[in-house]
Symmetry: D4
Subunit: 205 residues, 8 copies
């Protein structure tokens, strides 16, 4: 794109014909491509030659087509509250990888077990940029933002039930946080959080 | 009331005539009375003899009429996140006092400054019942519930702006909390939280 | 957990591999485990040896792994309005049982047939703690709270249609109740209500 | 109006000039008129001759202009939960009176004190039509509808705070009620409930 | 029920075992029964002897078990805006029939084709009670209430898309109607509207 | 503006200094200007020379500065449901006048008195473009759109109480209308509706 | 219809029997018919003779029955932001075609790639009427309305996730637009937008 | 604060006594302080000596107490859509200044006049970090994010009416944006956006 950021194909809702056309064009131009929200069940519909060049990750429902740059560490840490947040963590990690950034991952540090989070504080404080992924009430965002001074990008997830269905409570917690300087992206938008981290990395150069 | 819990008069929206009638009846029966949401500006409208028996607290907008039992410690701690939550803390403390329970108060332990909360953890763990008061994103509720095993009654407050206006984010955070066994009352309902603590104290006898 | 409360595994959204890992670890440590939201259809995916140690209840979608303490009566009564609320009643009852507490159950006392509720009033007044489960408009919560002085934990259920879809009306009725001292948990959260009752029981010791 | 129902003037938001014009036309035609939402403070703006024919009621903010028929009993009972609901009760009672119907009023029978309601059950069961007025969680509607077989028109009021602000919880409780055959009007709409009762009375002739 | 109104079984969400138990008890007592929300696909699960006594209507998903009284005309007209509203019309008509009331039905008179409604005005004005069923924006309710003086019970339906999804726009239109004396029930609640009409018929005796 | 449409100044929230600067610049360029949402009370703050060139209309809170073209008839009719909708009608009429279009106005044709609307049908059918202004449940929009074939621009107004507070019910009624080809603008946006009519007039040339 | 606009059949939710009846009647009267929301999977249920006269379009789920007038250009352009908006574009285009209007289509001009939109500006400025179709945040509507002076009818689509689920953000963006004279229809309502364009075309004659 | 970010005092809702205590403590420690939401009208309540050290800005309602570091350019640009967004722009600019960062400001580039924005594109592309402030429909956020590759922090403002009241439409537009890598803070939270920019600046070192 004109902004220099990698473009991605949002596969959900696209027909097989459309996906084939997009992949074929990328293949012809020898251009790597990131696909998000690509259900595992749809892989079988693609022609073998295209599928052979697709590195699909079932957890995050992402696929990398072609050969993007080799990822290198850049100070980005992705942290999440619980196991159910892992698909969104994966989307962020894979989007970063596609752009040449290898992220650190810290999982299972939800605030209900605060000591697990505090035990990993040094690791978190060493990060240059943090992407924080949490659902339910999203208390992790505020606690983190009070503990570290790096930029923190909250990704609220749709993990939750009752009033938390759909992720709006975690989103609103990120927005209403009493800890200053926290920013947020849309619910489940690991892709957007990674893009935002890439913007910050570029700004730092 | 038939449940043995103290009745209170919600003064907001009642006319002066109604308040005078209620107070006069209580005076005649020599029955102490708790009034909540009684604006300081309305005191001047009451006849001097009734006013003389009113112990009004400007911060919490509560008044105690007559002479309730002398409060004694019973293991209830009221904890809050910030200065702006103090009126609601006051409503809870005064309701407890009216029923003979003297509460401990721990303030300014919002999670944006987590260390302030952790420094007072022994004090909080010593409580038999905790009433936790917080607005904005209400992350305090989850952090507390992960740290102590006493009953915790959340009181979300209407402190906040933007998406947090009116207190719904704090309320939903209490409901959606990933920390188990947290219960909640309505926004700004310090009175209800105190009543609930009284129910628990009675159950423990 | 550090709070001394039993931990539970929320099975919905976890993969079979994750469940097997969690159960195997518990088996290795000879530690009993509570699983909630475990659909009956998923049992077939588990290896026979793990499944043999699972006591699964189809109605409440809960499973108890291993051998928890033998439940004994402790004064907790779970009451509900209608037949459709039974799965949530079951989740509360099983969570209590897992922690050694045998609950009483009173069903079908919705306020549309008030006399059925009044006929069981002595039974309800004898309880030390009440968990009240109701959907639709949740009027049961207020009526109960006006009749008994024990702690009452409301569990709004997602039973209802039209404006009541999802359980928000019952939840808001619990929060807005004109009867003082009622507390509530998230919609359909029988597990949380039981945990809260356990906190209260501990506080009473 | 063409439907044979009395027309009323909703005074709020009308200018003094408009009110004078409307009243003058009614005076010229010797036609009685009902005005609702007419603030006491606005009476002073009207010319003395018009004001002389206005019977204004401060509580309900209604005014009757001219001489409507003498009210007679017709079996309509207006029942409310608390003192704060009285302005809406008044609007209903005055609208009925303007159309020649004298209503019974039963107050202070909110479900938090269920026995007060049960003590007046014979009176309520004798009514031909019931208008039930309640705010907060509106549990009164369901309890009443389970106890009497007359038509019950719920009028939710905007009495309440936190989640109950504006009256939406009481409204939704009326709509979601588990007691069959309950109908409702808009929040605070005592006028509409009275009109509905008049329609039913006409239907019964 | 104690109110003298017929009780109904809401079949959705009940297990086959529960339905069989309920029907068997009714059969043993020779008591007719109304079932609502009973999907056609579930009939096959019932034992042949019970099914033989079930008169099931696929459109309205209602079933009448046993032999209720023979319906007779009583002045109730059910009117609807469009074809998609017919299942709800059916639920109302069948509930009335179960209680011995044969309703008139007027269909396809949505206000987008106002003349169709005006052509049937005499018929509508002859009704003693009107149940009006409409989805989308529910303009039919206000137009009808301005044209006839009988009691009008609005039943908003969940027919609609975009902002009208779920029926809330039609419901709010009924509540906010500028035509006085309109009452409403919950979305898609043809059963409740019929029960309300029965209450009014009883009041008229 | 580049689109050839007249620009307007939204006065609400602008300081006196800002308004003076804007008016002075227009005066210097001898350019007429439309101001909307200019409260009468703010006129006194403006310098006499600027005020002298302001034609302010108290009802619609609009002011025309300088001398716009003389308005001529162009087939636009503005129709409204009730007296309370007149300020919004005025905003539309004045915006059209500022652009040289003199509108017809038809008032007080709300659907609760359908005959008043039908009596003016010939007049309405003669219009080239209709701007329809209504609050509460906004049934007028659908009825009109079913009766005339001209473009109809709905302007929902914030007139209403209870569920209709703020105008969202009327807005949703316009959007969900069963009558095809209706379009809508934001609540109370008489200015936008007029601009849209101007776009249509230009398209017709 | 009386308004001279073509009527359409909304197929979703209609039974096969109803569709057959409607089509048969149209066939008997030799009257062309537009069907919307007709799923491809339902075609097989129709009798071969009716199906033979149905021109069904899978993308837009529309069908044209019989032989409508031959479409001719009339200055209507349908523009959309992304590939996912194409079904709604199709519904608008087909509705116009059914009424004899052949539309221009401009796709893939979402504002994230503003230059693509600016490159096609001359084409867009040549249009007499624009229908703009966009989901997610709907920024396309405001950008377009600031660039062209033709009437612009916004069609928000339900394309989006997280806060944008269901299309409400795009709808609200159209309503709140800072660009004057934009009008909108309901979410995904390509049919209504086309009808509105037809009204404008007629007005221009 | 422990995070190294400057702390600020949110003055709204604090009593005069509280403000005096906070300022006195800062004076005693010779520590500069930022106050936000401090209404001009409240200045008169402060003692002259404290007031003398307060640099209050009426537009942004911020005050700087004492002598913070001299601001220097650091590549932060604050851009806004309209005049009404200026108070929020001011809050951001002043928070940055308090931390030693002098921001560039670009105003009046709302997308309704897209050319004004495009004319300043070089300036915007030169920024290291962009804070974008907009109300109403917030289309500015997406357009900017498609044009520049720097980090963009959206600050939705509460500027707007009808559906845009309170700023939720602009907030949702930022979250739902089709342009990748945009992050957002709470409505009107210029302070938080500035803090986030400071975090990014620190990360870049
Ligand atoms: N997982 C994702 N979440 C949010 N946005 C995405 C995601 N993947 C791709 N996008 C954005 O969606 C757009 C791609 O849409 P499309 O052209 O329909 O494939 C691009 O603007 C991407 O920046
Ligand atoms: N179709 C229906 N819509 C709304 N309420 C219903 C319906 N059918 C039955 N009910 C009510 O639902 C309750 C029966 O619920 P249950 O005892 O669970 O079968 C009774 O109170 C009925 O009045
Ligand atoms: N795709 C569509 N979106 C919105 N309204 C439609 C659509 N197709 C048809 N309609 C309208 O729906 C009504 C047809 O409904 P019905 O009579 O149930 O087929 C007519 O008033 C049409 O104007
Ligand atoms: N204008 C503002 N908007 C949002 N948050 C603020 C603002 N000013 C201060 N804060 C935050 O509010 C808290 C200060 O609250 P308090 O301690 O009550 O003064 C700190 O955490 C600040 O980071
Ligand atoms: Mg979480
Ligand atoms: Mg707080
Ligand atoms: Mg219930
Ligand atoms: Mg009440
Ligand atoms: Mg309809
Ligand atoms: Mg109106
Ligand atoms: Mg789009
Ligand atoms: Mg703006």
């Amino acid at each position: 794109a004109r902004t220099g950021l990698p473009e991605a194909v949002y596969a959900e809702g696209k027909t097989v014909a459309q996906l084939i056309a997009i992949l074929s064009e990328a293949a012809a131009q020898d251009r790597p491509l990131l696909l998000t929200r690509l259900a595992t069940s749809r892989l079988a519909d693609l022609p073998p030659d295209l599928r052979a060049n697709l590195d699909h990750d079932a957890l995050s429902q992402t696929a990398i087509f072609g050969t993007p740059p080799q990822p290198a560490a850049a100070g980005v840490t992705v942290v999440c509250a619980g196991l159910a947040d892992m698909p969104v963590v994966g989307e962020a990690v894979r989007t970063l990888a596609f752009s040449g950034v290898r992220a650190q991952v810290v999982t299972d540090v939800g605030v209900a077990g605060l000591w697990r989070l505090l035990e990993r504080l040094d690791e978190l404080r060493a990060a240059r940029i943090i992407i924080a992924v949490a659902g339910m009430e999203g208390a992790l965002f505020s606690v983190l933002a009070g503990l570290v001074s790096a930029p923190i990008i909250a990704v609220p997830t749709s993990v939750g039930h009752g009033v938390a269905t759909g992720g709006h409570v975690a989103l609103n917690s990120a927005l209403a946080s009493c800890a200053p300087g926290l920013v947020t992206v849309n619910i489940d938008n690991g892709f957007g959080a990674a893009q935002s981290a890439l913007r910050i990395l570029h700004a730092g150069r």
